[in-house]
Symmetry: D2
């Protein structure tokens, strides 16, 4: 219990780079922006391999202690929430250990390096009964949540099409980053970008039945894929495409999607994440896509922010996401459907694996999702 | 020879509906807008089934005579150019007959209802030695030609990605139109819309090696496809997607495509056909897509039009296209590469057929293009 | 009477340059695109100073004869409609003479070089009883007409704001054109561009009561203004700005305006003339400006054109405008309110003159409109 | 000195509403996002009238103590920086008192309720030698700073035009807020919105010589202006317009401006604050405005944030602004030119007053700026 009567939760983190900054910032802001916070995050410990970097991160973000051994964090009784932001190869073991030590767990996406590993993480963690969240943060963009609400309210009618593509353009870099290392990352654009597309496709449209497509590596000597191209068919009859690339020059973070239904359409671009394009069938005289600036008092998450029109940034998606997770812990409510659980993380991995298989087999691949009871 | 010393060419037309209006308008405008015209089109005869409609069209557009029998047009010695705008089922026989009667021939796309029929049209017509043009008019959008010129000049470097989609939204109509009739149309969104995407993909990126995908019919009882979803691989190594639908609410004529290369990117939307989005690698301080209003004196086709910024419409693509064809006749120059020949029409059909096969087989389909010599 | 039973009207034209091309094209297209045409224009005679140019124009556009003397055209009994596209200095005398010879008259904007001259043209022409049209063609953009219809239907409520600016960027040219010559043009950006803004302000919002502002010449040695800046107050209480410049680099033909009312807003840019931005107060969840592609069957002028989404160009505004004028002649209906009469041409000139006076006096200037009866 | 060796500065705040949230958030983020921070802000005390609200704000944002008397804050020896976010009527006295007590001072805009009051604040505060910042936070939007850098580098050439408008649409509300109260606010859209336009005009283009225009109140019974319309002339010869309104339906926070120079143009809209539209004269083949996503490592302020394309929000402008002020304190460097000093606050007020005078006099008004030495 903090001095102001709000219950605290100790946070332990693995990883201190880009995502460590994003999550630390979110935990700190939750304490005063989402007032009163469901739980007040106390930054207890941060783990990482590079001693200089992790100690600086601890000082900068205000963690009480740091360590080179993630096992210390997992074992720390002051910690109630373990947030795993390490390289993909370091997702499974620490996350499972933390859950088995009774900590609620957040794990960055992709959950594992493939469906098998993701399944194992989900199965083992779910068995412990802790709360789990796979950090598909784009579910927590206000415009994305609004899209979901409009779809749930039937405003699009029956969905026929989903077109999703995640375009970035840093793939020509010669920098040696773990994201190009197969052992560390598992895949390239597939797990990094296409997994986000798959997750939002599932969140907004529904379960995916079948995919056909392939991966492509353009850069000589690169171990992982630079691009993914796929067609997709959903259980509800909708069809479309899923694409991802790190080689679309001029597109910095262009996660773009469009959904067409029998009564309306939606379109979105992460580079303008405060906007949702909305088409509603109706008056023919003024028919057209609306550019909805998602910043009204009645819009998702906006109770935490500013007057209408004063837009928010990419970093705030983590505030929304981790706030949601803390609320689920505080009130013992479900992380789903708005938060991605480890089951969602696993299912996204099944779809990604099917694209890999399709690339190898040359066939469209049906997707069979495993259940927990199956083990 | 007309009174002003410009050589005339007699035009015979089959079809008087939407496309008849577009082509007639173009032939009339060529005579004074593209000054001096390569040949002055004289509208000699128009053929069609509905007597009232074809006679009104003749009067309205200024054809000297009309007929219910296309055979009359084909046989007419005053006619040097036969323009076939009939339903797809009426492409093969009249077009071949006209060519064999020594007339230069224009045929609306898709050339035939499938690859076999398209091949036959190409083979038979090419054997006659007349000029032939498959009316893929979007090659004659100034922004599309500019894209081709930029690509030819190496400004995009090596192309890696093509994403093309042609989205319309009139497919829910219950009107009985020949475009929904399998016998008349051969296919739905495939031949009507996806064929355009295939043609520009070939024109801008290069030959297509392989496709994987499927067609989908959403409207119960409809004989033809409403939508097409496909992945594509090009001979030069580029990869991407090809999509088409008549069911994307809010998209009226959204033929959108994006191309990414190693040095730059281009993007386009037919609903803003005067604009080309251009990204050129270079200065990092002001990196971004340029919205190029393709209306400068130095831009393709602009010598025929207005001062910069005074945009043109969709209808003018036919002026450019038929002007190009008349010039090829007048000067005995090649219709290719900027005009689509019947070989291009056939090759687009091979790609479309491969998507159909892929939908049936569940496999990615390699494409083998027939040559004329092979028959 | 032409051979098809449609009454003919003989057209005489003064001027053969940019505007001669635009108007000739329109007259020719009316004959078949606006079917059946209200009157079939017969291009009888064209006048101009440069013998080679005017004779080529006659041949190209199909005028039966040409002349160096506009008096010949005015006197020609075969001519029922005189279309004056000459330099501004040549608006008054030929236009008045033609009207007094009983011809219906079209005159390019600005009507005269100042309010006095414009008033004189209006007064003299109106006294003859012929139909008169001041060619403010932007009233005939479908999106502009739709804006007017929405306003007339009360969909914007009471209008509070008008912001209009006409931005071009060719003013740095050293070419010697009559538009830079004070004697020939009267003014620079004022009569050329700001007059269009004034006309649409009057057409869409209402009569202008008062302006404050000034002209500015940036280019040393230039006789006319390069830019105009003004505030404006309307009789109905709305307020706003009127701007025009030939020196806004990157803006080729950006006639942009926005109107805000108590119930909605509209915005427009001539560089995307097929689109109208529409904001309608209502549902807060999906509040935003709609991008309306003005190309539906129910939209203004669209009965003449193509299926939805197949956009038209700047040149078609003249088709709509001259079609409207021919219909007014054929049916003896009023040119107003949708067509600008010479009274509208005169009133725009009063507003422009008031801006000039304000620049000189340093004071906001009230505008007193003369009536015909007042002289 | 904090535990990590970074020097602390005690912060005292007056005001706890919208702006209190924005500034508190910024001070908290500076401590870890701008690493290492120039000074570590310690939130010592917050003052406000409403006891419940100010005590909750203190708890929420982590101030050590709260008070109803701003005099306590001004007198507090633990406080080195006084941040005045109170209503405009409460800007002068506390700010001057704080400065005279030796505290560095930040004051929200507008500095005073008119030029006289603003001048007095500037004069009195400047005499004390403390650092002072008038919180025109929009100078700290990355795209705005980039605009300034491009202009300073000569990339626009000589500036000819500035068009600035700040459009909001909440003015129809019947809520009784201090912003509608003349005694508390001084003015309406003028001080609230137009002052921002004036400040960026001065920051980007240069000193303003003359304005002509007027204020307008549309809502019956309202004490302050709803809208401002003005023309503007700059000392360097540029001309343009300044507009502001709270009644532009559909515009939530649309602070839009465009600048045209002899070599290029820039355009901006605060609703898309991560983007700068850049036109650079040059290659005619690909001429057009670039949409520059201002999020590169080399872009202003971006060293504090995320990878390219991961956009930031409106709230971060305060992080940049207060970071700049803390650095000026820490290093004893000038707040100007990038930060707005109280002199800038005063000068903006002179321009706003001149618009008021022009509205009353009906004359364009020249602006005479007072100097400190004049008193």
């Amino acid at each position: 219990m903090s001095s102001d009567g709000i219950r605290e939760i100790g946070v332990g983190m693995l990883g201190y780079a880009f995502m460590g900054k994003a999550h630390s910032n979110a935990f700190r802001k939750i304490a005063y922006m989402t007032w009163p916070p469901p739980l007040e995050p106390r930054l207890v410990a941060i783990a990482g391999r590079d001693e200089a970097a992790v100690s600086e991160a601890a000082e900068r973000y205000g963690f009480e202690r740091w360590t080179n051994a993630w096992e210390d964090v997992v074992a720390d009784p002051a910690i109630g929430l373990f947030d795993n932001l390490g390289p993909n190869a370091l997702h499974a073991e620490p996350t499972i250990a933390a859950a088995e030590a009774g900590k609620h767990v957040v794990c960055e996406k992709p959950l594992g390096r493939d469906a098998d590993e993701s399944y194992e993480i989900w199965r083992r963690v779910a068995a412990t009964g802790v709360k789990h969240l796979c950090a598909f943060n784009y579910r927590f963009v206000p415009a994305v949540r609004l899209a979901r609400e409009l779809i749930d309210a039937g405003e699009l009618g029956k969905i026929r099409h989903f077109r999703g593509r995640y375009l970035q353009d840093w793939g020509d870099t010669a920098a040696e980053v773990w994201r190009f290392d197969r052992a560390a990352a598992g895949s390239g654009a597939l797990g990094d970008l296409a997994a986000h597309v798959v997750d939002l496709a599932r969140y907004l449209v529904g379960e995916i039945d079948e995919v056909g497509g392939f991966l492509r590596t353009f850069i000589p000597g690169r171990e992982v894929d630079d691009a993914v191209e796929a067609t997709v068919a959903f259980a509800n009859g909708a069809v479309g495409t899923i694409e991802a690339t790190r080689l679309a020059l001029g597109r910095r973070n262009a996660f773009q999607w469009e959904i067409n239904g029998t009564k309306g359409s939606l379109a979105f671009d992460m580079e303008r994440l405060n906007e949702l394009q909305v088409f509603q069938a109706g008056d023919e005289r003024t028919r057209g896509f609306k550019t909805v600036l998602v910043s009204e008092a009645s819009h998702p998450f906006w109770e935490h922010w500013w007057p209408p029109g004063h837009i928010i940034g990419w970093g705030e998606t983590f505030v929304h996401e981790l706030h949601h997770f803390l609320a689920a812990i505080a009130d013992d409510t479900d992380v789903a459907p708005h938060g991605a659980t480890f089951e969602d993380g696993y299912r996204a991995a099944e779809v990604c694996d099917a694209i890999v298989r399709s690339g190898q087999s040359g066939r469209r691949e049906a997707i069979v999702y495993r259940t927990r009871g199956a083990d």
